[in-house]
Protein backbone atom coordinates (compact mmCIF):
# COMPACT_ATOMS: atom_id res chain seq x y z
CA UNK A 1 0.00 0.00 0.00
CA UNK A 2 1.43 3.39 -0.97
CA UNK A 3 2.20 5.76 1.88
CA UNK A 4 0.60 9.06 2.81
CA UNK A 5 3.08 10.73 0.49
CA UNK A 6 4.11 8.84 -2.60
CA UNK A 7 6.05 10.16 -5.57
CA UNK A 8 7.47 8.41 -8.59
CA UNK A 9 9.97 9.71 -11.11
CA UNK A 10 9.49 13.40 -10.44
CA UNK A 11 11.35 15.55 -12.92
CA UNK A 12 11.40 19.33 -12.93
CA UNK A 13 13.80 21.44 -14.94
CA UNK A 14 14.41 25.16 -14.89
CA UNK A 15 16.23 25.83 -18.13
CA UNK A 16 19.41 23.79 -17.97
CA UNK A 17 19.06 23.06 -14.28
CA UNK A 18 17.49 19.72 -13.48
CA UNK A 19 16.12 20.62 -10.05
CA UNK A 20 14.47 17.20 -9.76
CA UNK A 21 15.92 14.41 -11.83
CA UNK A 22 13.71 11.38 -11.24
CA UNK A 23 12.89 11.53 -7.54
CA UNK A 24 10.95 8.69 -5.88
CA UNK A 25 9.63 9.17 -2.37
CA UNK A 26 7.43 7.14 -0.08
CA UNK A 27 6.38 8.23 3.38
CA UNK A 28 4.26 5.70 5.31
CA UNK A 29 1.33 7.13 7.23
CA UNK A 30 2.23 8.58 10.61
CA UNK A 31 5.96 8.74 9.96
CA UNK A 32 8.46 11.51 9.33
CA UNK A 33 10.66 11.63 6.29
CA UNK A 34 13.66 13.91 6.49
CA UNK A 35 14.68 15.22 3.09
CA UNK A 36 18.29 16.09 3.58
CA UNK A 37 20.54 17.90 1.17
CA UNK A 38 22.69 20.94 0.54
CA UNK A 39 21.54 24.17 -1.08
CA UNK A 40 20.06 23.73 -4.51
CA UNK A 41 19.75 19.96 -4.09
CA UNK A 42 16.08 20.11 -5.06
CA UNK A 43 14.46 19.85 -1.64
CA UNK A 44 12.29 22.94 -1.99
CA UNK A 45 11.31 22.03 -5.53
CA UNK A 46 10.17 18.60 -4.30
CA UNK A 47 8.03 20.20 -1.59
CA UNK A 48 6.56 22.69 -4.05
CA UNK A 49 5.56 19.89 -6.41
CA UNK A 50 4.00 17.81 -3.64
CA UNK A 51 2.06 20.79 -2.26
CA UNK A 52 0.55 21.63 -5.70
CA UNK A 53 2.53 24.86 -6.06
CA UNK A 54 4.57 23.63 -9.01
CA UNK A 55 3.76 21.28 -11.87
CA UNK A 56 6.46 18.68 -12.52
CA UNK A 57 7.63 18.06 -16.09
CA UNK A 58 6.97 14.37 -15.57
CA UNK A 59 6.32 11.85 -12.85
CA UNK A 60 3.40 11.26 -10.53
CA UNK A 61 2.60 12.10 -6.96
CA UNK A 62 -0.11 11.00 -4.56
CA UNK A 63 -0.67 12.78 -1.25
CA UNK A 64 -3.18 11.53 1.33
CA UNK A 65 -4.48 9.14 -1.31
CA UNK A 66 -5.22 11.91 -3.82
CA UNK A 67 -3.47 12.43 -7.14
CA UNK A 68 -1.62 15.76 -6.87
CA UNK A 69 -1.70 16.52 -10.58
CA UNK A 70 -5.30 15.49 -11.20
CA UNK A 71 -7.00 16.88 -8.10
CA UNK A 72 -4.79 19.63 -6.67
CA UNK A 73 -7.60 21.41 -4.87
CA UNK A 74 -8.60 18.28 -2.97
CA UNK A 75 -5.00 17.72 -1.99
CA UNK A 76 -4.94 21.26 -0.59
CA UNK A 77 -7.70 20.33 1.88
CA UNK A 78 -5.55 17.59 3.35
CA UNK A 79 -2.18 19.28 3.66
CA UNK A 80 -0.50 21.95 5.71
CA UNK A 81 2.55 23.79 4.43
CA UNK A 82 5.09 25.69 6.45
CA UNK A 83 7.65 27.19 4.12
CA UNK A 84 11.12 28.59 4.50
CA UNK A 85 9.77 32.02 5.26
CA UNK A 86 7.25 32.71 7.96
CA UNK A 87 4.42 33.38 5.52
CA UNK A 88 2.22 35.49 7.75
CA UNK A 89 0.78 38.93 7.10
CA UNK A 90 2.84 41.16 9.33
CA UNK A 91 0.22 43.88 9.59
CA UNK A 92 -2.44 41.46 10.76
CA UNK A 93 -2.48 40.27 14.35
CA UNK A 94 -1.66 36.66 15.12
CA UNK A 95 -5.34 35.98 15.65
CA UNK A 96 -6.40 37.67 12.41
CA UNK A 97 -3.82 35.69 10.47
CA UNK A 98 -5.09 32.36 11.77
CA UNK A 99 -8.74 33.28 11.33
CA UNK A 100 -8.09 34.31 7.74
CA UNK A 101 -6.37 31.02 6.97
CA UNK A 102 -9.22 29.13 8.64
CA UNK A 103 -11.79 30.93 6.51
CA UNK A 104 -9.78 30.18 3.37
CA UNK A 105 -9.75 26.50 4.37
CA UNK A 106 -13.53 27.00 4.10
CA UNK A 107 -14.25 26.85 7.82
CA UNK A 108 -17.19 28.83 9.14
CA UNK A 109 -16.33 32.16 10.79
CA UNK A 110 -17.17 30.73 14.21
CA UNK A 111 -15.09 27.58 13.74
CA UNK A 112 -12.15 29.63 12.41
CA UNK A 113 -12.33 31.88 15.45
CA UNK A 114 -12.43 29.01 17.91
CA UNK A 115 -9.61 27.19 16.17
CA UNK A 116 -7.44 30.33 16.10
CA UNK A 117 -7.87 30.82 19.85
CA UNK A 118 -6.99 27.20 20.48
CA UNK A 119 -3.84 27.29 18.35
CA UNK A 120 -2.65 30.59 19.84
CA UNK A 121 -2.93 29.01 23.26
CA UNK A 122 -1.17 25.85 22.12
CA UNK A 123 1.73 27.72 20.53
CA UNK A 124 2.28 30.09 23.43
CA UNK A 125 1.08 33.06 21.45
CA UNK A 126 -2.05 33.86 23.44
CA UNK A 127 -0.55 36.90 25.10
CA UNK A 128 0.68 38.42 21.85
CA UNK A 129 -2.36 37.27 19.89
CA UNK A 130 -3.79 40.72 19.29
CA UNK A 131 -0.58 42.45 18.31
CA UNK A 132 0.40 42.83 14.64
CA UNK A 133 2.71 39.99 13.65
CA UNK A 134 5.48 42.43 12.73
CA UNK A 135 6.05 42.98 16.45
CA UNK A 136 6.73 39.24 16.86
CA UNK A 137 10.21 37.79 17.29
CA UNK A 138 11.57 35.42 14.65
CA UNK A 139 10.66 32.41 16.78
CA UNK A 140 7.13 33.66 17.38
CA UNK A 141 6.59 34.24 13.67
CA UNK A 142 7.72 30.72 12.93
CA UNK A 143 5.33 29.35 15.50
CA UNK A 144 2.52 31.44 14.03
CA UNK A 145 3.39 30.16 10.57
CA UNK A 146 3.32 26.60 11.82
CA UNK A 147 0.01 27.22 13.58
CA UNK A 148 -1.39 28.52 10.28
CA UNK A 149 -0.32 25.28 8.61
CA UNK A 150 -2.19 23.32 11.31
CA UNK A 151 -5.49 25.14 11.19
CA UNK A 152 -7.42 22.15 9.82
CA UNK A 153 -5.24 19.51 11.54
CA UNK A 154 -4.15 18.22 8.15
CA UNK A 155 -3.23 14.52 8.04
CA UNK A 156 -0.15 15.36 5.95
CA UNK A 157 2.27 18.17 6.71
CA UNK A 158 5.14 19.64 4.73
CA UNK A 159 7.80 21.73 6.39
CA UNK A 160 10.51 23.32 4.32
CA UNK A 161 13.51 24.02 6.53
CA UNK A 162 11.32 24.82 9.53
CA UNK A 163 14.15 25.90 11.81
CA UNK A 164 16.49 27.69 9.42
CA UNK A 165 17.58 30.94 11.02
CA UNK A 166 16.27 30.13 14.49
CA UNK A 167 18.39 30.28 17.63
CA UNK A 168 18.96 27.01 19.52
CA UNK A 169 16.28 27.66 22.12
CA UNK A 170 13.61 28.38 19.54
CA UNK A 171 14.74 25.43 17.47
CA UNK A 172 14.37 23.16 20.47
CA UNK A 173 10.85 24.48 21.09
CA UNK A 174 9.86 23.91 17.50
CA UNK A 175 11.24 20.39 17.58
CA UNK A 176 9.05 19.62 20.57
CA UNK A 177 5.99 20.90 18.73
CA UNK A 178 6.86 18.78 15.71
CA UNK A 179 7.36 15.68 17.85
CA UNK A 180 3.98 16.13 19.52
CA UNK A 181 2.39 16.58 16.13
CA UNK A 182 3.83 13.33 14.87
CA UNK A 183 2.85 11.55 18.08
CA UNK A 184 -0.70 12.62 17.21
CA UNK A 185 -0.51 10.67 13.95
CA UNK A 186 0.42 13.33 11.40
CA UNK A 187 2.54 12.29 8.45
CA UNK A 188 5.36 14.75 7.91
CA UNK A 189 7.83 15.50 5.19
CA UNK A 190 10.54 17.79 6.46
CA UNK A 191 13.42 19.27 4.54
CA UNK A 192 16.50 20.34 6.37
CA UNK A 193 20.13 21.17 5.96
CA UNK A 194 20.75 20.38 9.60
CA UNK A 195 21.90 16.81 9.86
CA UNK A 196 21.23 16.91 13.56
CA UNK A 197 17.64 17.87 12.88
CA UNK A 198 17.00 14.96 10.54
CA UNK A 199 18.66 12.65 13.05
CA UNK A 200 16.46 13.98 15.81
CA UNK A 201 13.07 14.14 14.12
CA UNK A 202 12.93 11.80 11.16
CA UNK A 203 12.12 8.08 11.04
CA UNK A 204 13.51 7.80 7.55
CA UNK A 205 15.99 9.97 5.78
CA UNK A 206 16.36 10.63 2.09
CA UNK A 207 19.61 12.23 1.07
CA UNK A 208 19.17 14.29 -2.06
CA UNK A 209 21.81 15.98 -4.17
CA UNK A 210 21.57 17.57 -7.63
CA UNK A 211 17.97 16.41 -7.97
CA UNK A 212 18.78 12.75 -7.26
CA UNK A 213 18.01 10.66 -4.21
CA UNK A 214 21.47 9.34 -3.42
CA UNK A 215 20.67 7.38 -0.27
CA UNK A 216 17.72 6.45 1.87
CA UNK A 217 17.13 4.60 5.10
CA UNK A 218 16.91 5.20 8.81
CA UNK A 219 19.52 7.32 10.45
CA UNK A 220 21.10 4.17 11.91
CA UNK A 221 21.11 2.38 8.57
CA UNK A 222 22.82 5.29 6.88
CA UNK A 223 25.40 5.47 9.61
CA UNK A 224 25.97 1.74 9.52
CA UNK A 225 26.50 1.99 5.78
CA UNK A 226 29.22 4.54 6.33
CA UNK A 227 30.63 2.18 8.95
CA UNK A 228 33.18 3.35 11.48
CA UNK A 229 31.94 2.87 15.00
CA UNK A 230 34.75 3.87 17.29
CA UNK A 231 35.70 4.26 20.92
CA UNK A 232 37.41 7.41 22.09
CA UNK A 233 39.36 7.45 25.32
CA UNK A 234 40.93 10.47 26.96
CA UNK A 235 43.53 9.42 29.53
CA UNK A 236 44.31 11.46 32.61
CA UNK A 237 48.03 11.93 31.97
CA UNK A 238 50.11 11.90 28.86
CA UNK A 239 52.38 9.20 30.32
CA UNK A 240 49.45 6.77 30.25
CA UNK A 241 48.98 7.01 26.47
CA UNK A 242 51.34 4.13 25.63
CA UNK A 243 49.97 1.62 28.16
CA UNK A 244 46.39 2.56 27.35
CA UNK A 245 46.99 2.11 23.62
CA UNK A 246 48.39 -1.32 24.34
CA UNK A 247 45.37 -2.21 26.50
CA UNK A 248 42.98 -1.11 23.74
CA UNK A 249 44.81 -3.00 21.01
CA UNK A 250 42.92 -6.21 21.83
CA UNK A 251 39.57 -4.59 21.07
CA UNK A 252 40.64 -2.63 18.04
CA UNK A 253 39.55 -3.53 14.50
CA UNK A 254 42.23 -1.37 12.99
CA UNK A 255 45.05 0.97 13.77
CA UNK A 256 44.35 3.23 16.76
CA UNK A 257 45.00 6.94 16.32
CA UNK A 258 46.64 8.84 19.14
CA UNK A 259 46.45 12.58 19.66
CA UNK A 260 49.25 13.55 22.03
CA UNK A 261 48.16 17.04 22.99
CA UNK A 262 44.54 16.11 23.78
CA UNK A 263 45.56 12.75 25.30
CA UNK A 264 42.95 11.13 23.11
CA UNK A 265 43.08 7.61 21.66
CA UNK A 266 40.56 6.59 19.01
CA UNK A 267 40.13 2.94 18.06
CA UNK A 268 37.79 1.54 15.42
CA UNK A 269 35.53 -1.16 16.90
CA UNK A 270 32.48 -3.27 16.27
CA UNK A 271 30.27 -4.42 19.07
CA UNK A 272 28.72 -1.26 20.41
CA UNK A 273 27.84 -0.56 24.01
CA UNK A 274 28.65 -4.04 25.33
CA UNK A 275 32.22 -3.65 24.16
CA UNK A 276 32.44 -0.27 25.83
CA UNK A 277 31.77 -1.89 29.20
CA UNK A 278 34.50 -4.45 28.59
CA UNK A 279 36.99 -1.73 27.67
CA UNK A 280 36.20 0.22 30.83
CA UNK A 281 36.74 -2.93 32.95
CA UNK A 282 40.02 -3.65 31.19
CA UNK A 283 41.34 -0.11 31.71
CA UNK A 284 40.23 -0.23 35.33
CA UNK A 285 41.98 -3.56 35.90
CA UNK A 286 45.20 -2.11 34.53
CA UNK A 287 44.78 0.94 36.74
CA UNK A 288 44.73 3.42 33.86
CA UNK A 289 42.99 6.59 34.99
CA UNK A 290 40.76 8.14 32.32
CA UNK A 291 39.03 11.53 32.01
CA UNK A 292 36.54 10.58 29.34
CA UNK A 293 35.42 7.60 27.34
CA UNK A 294 32.71 7.22 24.76
CA UNK A 295 31.33 5.21 21.93
CA UNK A 296 31.21 7.44 18.84
CA UNK A 297 29.06 6.54 15.93
CA UNK A 298 29.39 8.34 12.62
CA UNK A 299 27.35 11.51 12.48
CA UNK A 300 25.15 12.32 9.55
CA UNK A 301 27.89 14.76 8.61
CA UNK A 302 30.17 11.80 8.06
CA UNK A 303 27.43 10.07 6.11
CA UNK A 304 26.91 13.07 3.95
CA UNK A 305 30.56 13.49 3.23
CA UNK A 306 31.00 9.86 2.23
CA UNK A 307 27.90 9.96 -0.01
CA UNK A 308 28.33 13.23 -1.81
CA UNK A 309 32.05 13.74 -1.62
CA UNK A 310 31.48 17.17 -0.15
CA UNK A 311 30.36 18.39 3.24
CA UNK A 312 26.88 19.72 3.79
CA UNK A 313 26.99 23.42 3.07
CA UNK A 314 26.15 26.18 5.47
CA UNK A 315 22.46 26.99 5.57
CA UNK A 316 21.46 29.67 3.14
CA UNK A 317 18.54 30.31 0.98
CA UNK A 318 17.71 27.56 -1.44
CA UNK A 319 14.67 29.42 -2.69
CA UNK A 320 16.83 32.32 -3.79
CA UNK A 321 19.02 29.99 -5.78
CA UNK A 322 16.06 28.31 -7.35
CA UNK A 323 14.69 31.69 -8.24
CA UNK A 324 17.93 32.60 -9.96
CA UNK A 325 17.77 29.39 -11.90
CA UNK A 326 14.21 30.18 -12.96
CA UNK A 327 15.17 33.66 -14.02
CA UNK A 328 18.09 32.38 -16.01
CA UNK A 329 15.70 30.01 -17.71
CA UNK A 330 13.49 32.80 -18.98
Amino acid sequence: MPGAIHAEGLVKTFGDVRALDGVDLDVPEGTVLGLLGPNGAGKTTAVRVLTTLLKPDSGKAVVAGIDVLKHPNEVRRSIGLSGQFAAVDEYLTGRENLQMVGRLYQMTARAAKARAAELLERFNLAEAADRPAKTFSGGMRRRLDLAAALVVSPPVMFMDEPTTGLDPRNRQQLWEVIQELVAGGTTLLLTTQYLEEADHLAHDICVIDHGHVIARGTSDELKARTGGERVEVVVHERELLATATAALAGFSKGAPTVEEHTRRITVPVTGGAKLLAEIIRELDTRGIEIDDIGLRRPTLDDVFLSLTGHVAEAPANEAAEQQQAEEAAK
Binding site: R48, T51, T52, L53, L54, K55, H71, N73, E74, R76, R77, I79, L81, G83, Q84, F85, A86, A87, V88, D89, E90, Y91, L92, E96, M100, V101, R103, L104, Y105, Q106, M107, T108, A111, A112, A114, R115, E118, L119, E121, R122, P132, A148, L150, V151, V152, S153, E180, L181, A183, G184, G185, T186, A319, Q323, E326
Partner: protein
Protein backbone atom coordinates in the same frame (compact mmCIF):
# COMPACT_ATOMS: atom_id res chain seq x y z
CA UNK B 1 -0.36 16.88 20.80
CA UNK B 2 -3.70 16.49 22.51
CA UNK B 3 -4.85 20.01 21.77
CA UNK B 4 -4.31 19.58 18.06
CA UNK B 5 -5.45 16.00 17.75
CA UNK B 6 -8.67 16.43 19.73
CA UNK B 7 -10.01 19.08 17.45
CA UNK B 8 -9.24 17.31 14.24
CA UNK B 9 -12.86 16.22 14.01
CA UNK B 10 -14.43 19.55 14.86
CA UNK B 11 -12.20 21.30 12.37
CA UNK B 12 -12.99 18.73 9.71
CA UNK B 13 -16.71 18.96 10.44
CA UNK B 14 -16.63 22.70 9.93
CA UNK B 15 -15.35 22.37 6.39
CA UNK B 16 -17.96 23.95 4.17
CA UNK B 17 -18.64 23.07 0.53
CA UNK B 18 -16.64 20.63 -1.52
CA UNK B 19 -13.71 21.66 -3.71
CA UNK B 20 -14.47 23.60 -6.80
CA UNK B 21 -16.54 25.84 -4.61
CA UNK B 22 -18.70 27.72 -7.09
CA UNK B 23 -19.62 31.38 -7.06
CA UNK B 24 -20.58 31.50 -3.38
CA UNK B 25 -17.15 30.32 -2.34
CA UNK B 26 -15.51 32.68 -4.85
CA UNK B 27 -17.31 35.67 -3.34
CA UNK B 28 -16.60 34.57 0.22
CA UNK B 29 -12.91 33.94 -0.40
CA UNK B 30 -12.56 37.28 -2.17
CA UNK B 31 -14.21 39.09 0.72
CA UNK B 32 -11.93 37.35 3.25
CA UNK B 33 -8.90 38.57 1.29
CA UNK B 34 -10.40 42.04 0.78
CA UNK B 35 -10.95 42.31 4.53
CA UNK B 36 -7.34 41.40 5.11
CA UNK B 37 -6.17 44.13 2.73
CA UNK B 38 -8.50 46.72 4.26
CA UNK B 39 -7.16 45.91 7.73
CA UNK B 40 -3.67 46.47 6.32
CA UNK B 41 -4.71 49.87 4.97
CA UNK B 42 -6.01 50.87 8.40
CA UNK B 43 -2.74 49.78 10.00
CA UNK B 44 -0.60 51.62 7.39
CA UNK B 45 -2.60 54.86 7.01
CA UNK B 46 0.45 56.58 5.45
CA UNK B 47 -0.25 54.78 2.20
CA UNK B 48 -3.80 56.13 2.06
CA UNK B 49 -2.69 59.61 3.08
CA UNK B 50 0.09 59.80 0.46
CA UNK B 51 -2.40 58.51 -2.08
CA UNK B 52 -4.53 61.57 -1.25
CA UNK B 53 -1.76 64.16 -1.24
CA UNK B 54 -0.71 63.55 -4.83
CA UNK B 55 -4.04 64.29 -6.55
CA UNK B 56 -4.65 67.26 -4.27
CA UNK B 57 -1.24 68.60 -5.29
CA UNK B 58 -2.17 68.15 -8.94
CA UNK B 59 -5.41 70.05 -8.43
CA UNK B 60 -3.58 72.95 -6.84
CA UNK B 61 -0.69 72.96 -9.35
CA UNK B 62 -2.85 72.80 -12.44
CA UNK B 63 -5.46 75.21 -11.10
CA UNK B 64 -3.14 77.92 -9.99
CA UNK B 65 0.17 77.40 -11.82
CA UNK B 66 -0.83 76.21 -15.31
CA UNK B 67 -4.53 77.11 -15.23
CA UNK B 68 -4.14 80.76 -16.15
CA UNK B 69 -2.04 79.89 -19.22
CA UNK B 70 -4.27 77.16 -20.67
CA UNK B 71 -7.34 78.52 -22.43
CA UNK B 72 -10.19 76.12 -23.01
CA UNK B 73 -11.14 76.47 -26.70
CA UNK B 74 -14.75 77.18 -27.30
CA UNK B 75 -15.09 78.97 -23.97
CA UNK B 76 -15.25 82.71 -23.84
CA UNK B 77 -12.58 84.62 -22.03
CA UNK B 78 -9.79 83.18 -19.96
CA UNK B 79 -11.53 82.65 -16.66
CA UNK B 80 -9.37 80.29 -14.51
CA UNK B 81 -12.53 78.81 -13.01
CA UNK B 82 -13.49 77.53 -16.47
CA UNK B 83 -10.20 75.67 -16.72
CA UNK B 84 -10.61 74.26 -13.22
CA UNK B 85 -14.01 72.87 -14.21
CA UNK B 86 -12.46 71.47 -17.38
CA UNK B 87 -9.50 70.04 -15.48
CA UNK B 88 -11.27 68.21 -12.70
CA UNK B 89 -12.52 65.20 -14.70
CA UNK B 90 -8.93 64.71 -15.86
CA UNK B 91 -7.59 64.74 -12.31
CA UNK B 92 -10.29 62.35 -11.12
CA UNK B 93 -9.50 59.93 -13.93
CA UNK B 94 -5.76 60.15 -13.40
CA UNK B 95 -6.22 59.50 -9.71
CA UNK B 96 -8.24 56.31 -10.19
CA UNK B 97 -5.65 54.90 -12.58
CA UNK B 98 -2.90 55.45 -10.03
CA UNK B 99 -4.50 52.65 -8.00
CA UNK B 100 -2.64 50.39 -10.44
CA UNK B 101 0.62 50.95 -8.62
CA UNK B 102 -0.89 50.10 -5.24
CA UNK B 103 -2.31 46.80 -6.39
CA UNK B 104 0.93 45.87 -8.12
CA UNK B 105 3.11 46.68 -5.12
CA UNK B 106 0.78 44.80 -2.78
CA UNK B 107 0.72 41.63 -4.85
CA UNK B 108 4.49 41.74 -5.44
CA UNK B 109 5.02 42.13 -1.70
CA UNK B 110 2.81 39.09 -1.02
CA UNK B 111 4.84 37.09 -3.55
CA UNK B 112 8.08 38.24 -2.03
CA UNK B 113 7.06 37.33 1.52
CA UNK B 114 5.79 33.87 0.59
CA UNK B 115 2.15 34.70 1.27
CA UNK B 116 1.12 33.85 -2.28
CA UNK B 117 2.61 30.39 -1.74
CA UNK B 118 0.55 29.99 1.39
CA UNK B 119 -2.62 31.11 -0.39
CA UNK B 120 -1.91 28.81 -3.32
CA UNK B 121 -1.55 25.86 -0.95
CA UNK B 122 -5.03 26.52 0.50
CA UNK B 123 -8.26 25.08 -0.92
CA UNK B 124 -9.52 28.50 -1.96
CA UNK B 125 -10.86 29.97 -5.20
CA UNK B 126 -7.97 30.68 -7.56
CA UNK B 127 -8.68 34.30 -8.39
CA UNK B 128 -9.74 35.33 -4.88
CA UNK B 129 -6.35 36.63 -3.74
CA UNK B 130 -6.30 39.06 -6.68
CA UNK B 131 -10.00 39.90 -6.53
CA UNK B 132 -9.72 40.61 -2.82
CA UNK B 133 -6.79 42.91 -3.35
CA UNK B 134 -8.42 44.84 -6.21
CA UNK B 135 -11.68 45.19 -4.25
CA UNK B 136 -9.78 46.68 -1.31
CA UNK B 137 -8.08 49.09 -3.72
CA UNK B 138 -11.49 50.02 -5.07
CA UNK B 139 -12.60 50.99 -1.57
CA UNK B 140 -9.50 53.12 -1.18
CA UNK B 141 -10.07 54.74 -4.57
CA UNK B 142 -13.68 55.57 -3.64
CA UNK B 143 -12.45 57.20 -0.44
CA UNK B 144 -9.87 59.20 -2.39
CA UNK B 145 -12.56 60.34 -4.83
CA UNK B 146 -14.67 61.57 -1.96
CA UNK B 147 -11.89 63.69 -0.46
CA UNK B 148 -10.79 64.93 -3.86
CA UNK B 149 -14.34 66.03 -4.72
CA UNK B 150 -14.42 68.20 -1.63
CA UNK B 151 -11.08 69.80 -2.58
CA UNK B 152 -12.37 70.32 -6.12
CA UNK B 153 -15.50 72.02 -4.83
CA UNK B 154 -13.32 74.33 -2.76
CA UNK B 155 -11.32 75.49 -5.81
CA UNK B 156 -14.51 76.21 -7.73
CA UNK B 157 -15.49 72.98 -9.50
CA UNK B 158 -19.24 72.44 -9.81
CA UNK B 159 -21.68 69.79 -10.98
CA UNK B 160 -24.06 71.37 -13.50
CA UNK B 161 -26.21 68.52 -14.66
CA UNK B 162 -27.70 67.01 -11.54
CA UNK B 163 -26.62 64.53 -8.95
CA UNK B 164 -27.68 61.24 -10.64
CA UNK B 165 -25.50 61.96 -13.67
CA UNK B 166 -22.61 62.91 -11.40
CA UNK B 167 -23.01 59.57 -9.65
CA UNK B 168 -22.90 57.83 -13.01
CA UNK B 169 -19.65 59.69 -13.73
CA UNK B 170 -18.13 58.47 -10.47
CA UNK B 171 -19.33 54.98 -11.37
CA UNK B 172 -17.42 55.15 -14.65
CA UNK B 173 -14.35 56.46 -12.84
CA UNK B 174 -14.41 53.65 -10.30
CA UNK B 175 -14.90 51.07 -13.05
CA UNK B 176 -11.88 52.45 -14.90
CA UNK B 177 -9.84 52.35 -11.69
CA UNK B 178 -10.95 48.79 -10.96
CA UNK B 179 -10.02 47.66 -14.47
CA UNK B 180 -6.61 49.33 -14.16
CA UNK B 181 -5.91 47.71 -10.79
CA UNK B 182 -6.00 44.35 -12.63
CA UNK B 183 -3.21 45.62 -14.87
CA UNK B 184 -1.38 46.38 -11.63
CA UNK B 185 -2.11 42.90 -10.27
CA UNK B 186 -0.59 41.36 -13.38
CA UNK B 187 2.50 43.57 -13.10
CA UNK B 188 2.81 42.61 -9.43
CA UNK B 189 2.83 38.93 -10.36
CA UNK B 190 5.41 39.42 -13.10
CA UNK B 191 8.04 41.45 -11.26
CA UNK B 192 10.19 40.29 -8.37
CA UNK B 193 10.00 43.16 -5.90
CA UNK B 194 7.38 45.61 -4.65
CA UNK B 195 9.67 48.48 -5.72
CA UNK B 196 9.74 47.25 -9.30
CA UNK B 197 5.96 46.89 -9.21
CA UNK B 198 5.52 50.48 -8.05
CA UNK B 199 7.66 51.99 -10.79
CA UNK B 200 6.46 49.43 -13.34
CA UNK B 201 2.92 50.40 -12.44
CA UNK B 202 3.51 54.12 -12.81
CA UNK B 203 5.87 54.70 -15.76
CA UNK B 204 3.40 53.97 -18.54
CA UNK B 205 0.64 55.84 -16.74
CA UNK B 206 2.30 59.19 -17.42
CA UNK B 207 2.23 59.03 -21.22
CA UNK B 208 -1.16 57.36 -21.04
CA UNK B 209 -2.69 60.11 -18.95
CA UNK B 210 -0.88 63.01 -20.65
CA UNK B 211 -1.46 61.96 -24.28
CA UNK B 212 -5.14 62.47 -23.67
CA UNK B 213 -7.72 65.16 -23.25
CA UNK B 214 -7.21 65.18 -19.47
CA UNK B 215 -5.22 68.39 -19.02
CA UNK B 216 -5.30 70.15 -22.37
CA UNK B 217 -7.72 70.01 -25.29
CA UNK B 218 -6.47 67.62 -27.99
CA UNK B 219 -7.11 70.22 -30.69
CA UNK B 220 -3.64 71.64 -30.17
CA UNK B 221 -1.87 68.27 -30.71
CA UNK B 222 -0.24 67.04 -33.96
CA UNK B 223 -2.62 64.90 -35.99
CA UNK B 224 -1.06 61.59 -35.03
CA UNK B 225 -1.00 62.30 -31.28
CA UNK B 226 -4.49 63.65 -31.52
CA UNK B 227 -5.74 60.34 -32.94
CA UNK B 228 -3.99 58.45 -30.17
CA UNK B 229 -5.47 60.79 -27.58
CA UNK B 230 -8.97 60.50 -29.04
CA UNK B 231 -8.88 56.70 -28.90
CA UNK B 232 -7.13 56.53 -25.55
CA UNK B 233 -9.43 54.64 -23.14
CA UNK B 234 -8.50 57.19 -20.56
CA UNK B 235 -9.76 60.08 -22.73
CA UNK B 236 -13.11 58.39 -23.16
CA UNK B 237 -13.70 58.32 -19.41
CA UNK B 238 -12.56 61.93 -19.01
CA UNK B 239 -14.86 63.05 -21.79
CA UNK B 240 -17.76 61.04 -20.36
CA UNK B 241 -17.26 62.63 -16.96
CA UNK B 242 -17.19 66.14 -18.45
CA UNK B 243 -20.48 65.39 -20.14
CA UNK B 244 -22.09 63.88 -17.08
CA UNK B 245 -20.82 66.60 -14.73
CA UNK B 246 -21.89 69.27 -17.22
CA UNK B 247 -18.35 70.66 -17.24
CA UNK B 248 -16.79 72.43 -20.23
CA UNK B 249 -15.61 69.97 -22.86
CA UNK B 250 -13.53 72.19 -25.05
CA UNK B 251 -13.61 71.55 -28.77
CA UNK B 252 -13.87 67.82 -29.29
CA UNK B 253 -13.02 65.80 -32.33
CA UNK B 254 -15.40 63.64 -34.27
CA UNK B 255 -13.74 60.34 -33.42
CA UNK B 256 -16.31 57.78 -32.29
CA UNK B 257 -15.19 57.58 -28.63
CA UNK B 258 -15.38 61.35 -28.32
CA UNK B 259 -18.86 61.42 -29.81
CA UNK B 260 -20.12 58.60 -27.56
CA UNK B 261 -17.85 58.91 -24.53
CA UNK B 262 -20.08 57.14 -21.98
CA UNK B 263 -20.36 54.03 -24.12
CA UNK B 264 -16.70 54.21 -25.09
CA UNK B 265 -15.64 54.49 -21.46
CA UNK B 266 -17.84 51.58 -20.41
CA UNK B 267 -16.65 49.33 -23.24
CA UNK B 268 -12.98 50.18 -22.78
CA UNK B 269 -13.09 49.54 -19.04
CA UNK B 270 -14.91 46.23 -19.42
CA UNK B 271 -12.50 45.13 -22.13
CA UNK B 272 -9.44 45.99 -20.01
CA UNK B 273 -11.01 44.24 -17.02
CA UNK B 274 -11.75 41.09 -18.99
CA UNK B 275 -8.33 40.86 -20.66
CA UNK B 276 -6.18 41.67 -17.65
CA UNK B 277 -8.23 39.68 -15.17
CA UNK B 278 -7.86 36.62 -17.38
CA UNK B 279 -4.11 37.16 -17.80
CA UNK B 280 -3.54 37.87 -14.10
CA UNK B 281 -5.50 34.83 -12.85
CA UNK B 282 -3.67 32.61 -15.33
CA UNK B 283 -0.35 33.98 -14.15
CA UNK B 284 -1.37 33.50 -10.51
CA UNK B 285 -1.98 29.79 -11.04
CA UNK B 286 1.62 29.27 -12.05
CA UNK B 287 3.20 31.98 -9.91
CA UNK B 288 6.37 31.05 -8.11
CA UNK B 289 7.86 33.16 -5.37
Amino acid sequence: MTAIAETAETAGGALAPRPGGGPVQAVRDSLVVAKRNLIRMLRIPEVVIFGLIQPIMFVVLFSYVFGGAIPVPGQHGNDPVVYRNYLMAGIFAQTVTFATAGAGAGIADDMHKGLIDRFRSLPMTRGAVLTGRTLADLVQTALTMLVLSVVALIVGWRIHDGFPKALAAFGLLLLLGYAFSWIGALIGLLVRTPEAATSGGLIWLFPLTFISNAFVPTSGMPAFLRTVADWNPFSATVQACRQLFGNPQGVTSHAWPMEHPVWASLLWSLLILLVFRTLAVRRYRSATA
